[in-house]
Symmetry: C2
Subunit: 184 residues, 2 copies
């Protein structure tokens, strides 16, 4: 985390990709780890058409301003969101794009993963892409513990889909390890 222990996460894509729920799960996991968190979504001109944006702030202390100003982590699950939000990432911020939707990335410093493809391959359901993405985010940033994100995923998974979602999470975490080892 940065100097004042505030970590800003933006999850951007389209409606129906489960990004709001992913934000809620991430915020709840932070609390399991003893941190504070807020999760906000904006509607209206800021998120016109099918666009969806979920923002999570995680901090050790109070969170006075619950919106992202410069993202420590940006996840893009649509080309539009990547084009729009790329410029708000911090210099050392992490960018993750889902190559199922994003083909043009304006930097070489990004993690390009076929998140939706991985989700479909491993769980048979594209809708678990949001949980694969959570695994990637947690694996790459360590912003919450593995234990906490697992507990939060299970708590929010529709009944009967807990195992499926844990599988999706595990794939994201493993992919993160693979990506990190490539950069070393």
């Amino acid at each position: 985390m940065n100097e004042n222990h505030r970590f800003e996460i933006r999850l951007a894509g389209e409606g129906g990709q489960g990004l709001i729920l992913a934000g809620i799960i991430l915020a709840e996991a932070a609390v399991y780890d003893g941190k504070n968190a807020t999760q906000t979504q904006s509607y209206g001109p800021e998120a016109r058409g099918g666009a969806s944006r979920s923002e999570v702030i995680i901090a050790d202390g109070d969170i006075d301003y619950p919106k992202v100003t410069h993202a420590d982590l940006l996840l893009c699950m649509s080309q539009e969101s990547c084009d729009k939000y790329f410029y708000d990432i911090k210099q050392d911020g992490v960018l993750i794009v889902d190559t199922s939707y994003v083909s043009r990335v304006p930097t070489s410093k990004s993690y390009r993963v076929d998140i939706t493809g991985l989700a479909t391959e491993v769980t048979g359901r594209a809708i678990t892409a949001n949980v694969v993405a959570l695994g990637l985010i947690v694996g790459l940033t360590g912003i919450v513990s593995r234990q906490a994100i697992e507990a939060a995923v299970v708590a929010r998974a529709p009944r009967g889909t807990e195992e499926l979602n844990l599988k999706a999470l595990a794939v994201g975490l493993e992919e993160a390890e693979r990506l990190k080892s490539q950069r070393e």
Copy 2:
């Protein structure tokens, strides 16, 4: 709405009452009406134990600060939330309490409704209390149109429960009319 066309709503109670989803539905309804909206929930010391708090800001213009400072409308579905947030209501703000959970209300200027009781009676499911509450809120404040809130409820209702949830909404709207006519 107030001078700068910003309306602040706080939905407070406990986890499992569906207040986050209620906030999302309300925010989405505002967009159907052509307005801007944000929905935020806070986790951590601010919402310790089982407490849950969902905040919605609806405005004609941009929303720079997505947190409630002084609520135009406060819904309390737990005694604790009523004790805690009562003091942040605007002078002419509206307070709605669910008498299934709240017995002590520190003002006579409130709407006291057995929201959970009504939900159980009409739909057979206490979990629809959040949608009954939405009907009350919309009926009492007119902050979004009936058409918009119906569309937003249907869009977010789990498949197969659309009719049930519209019934819950209608009960809340009717109860609001009854309460308003009593005050005239």
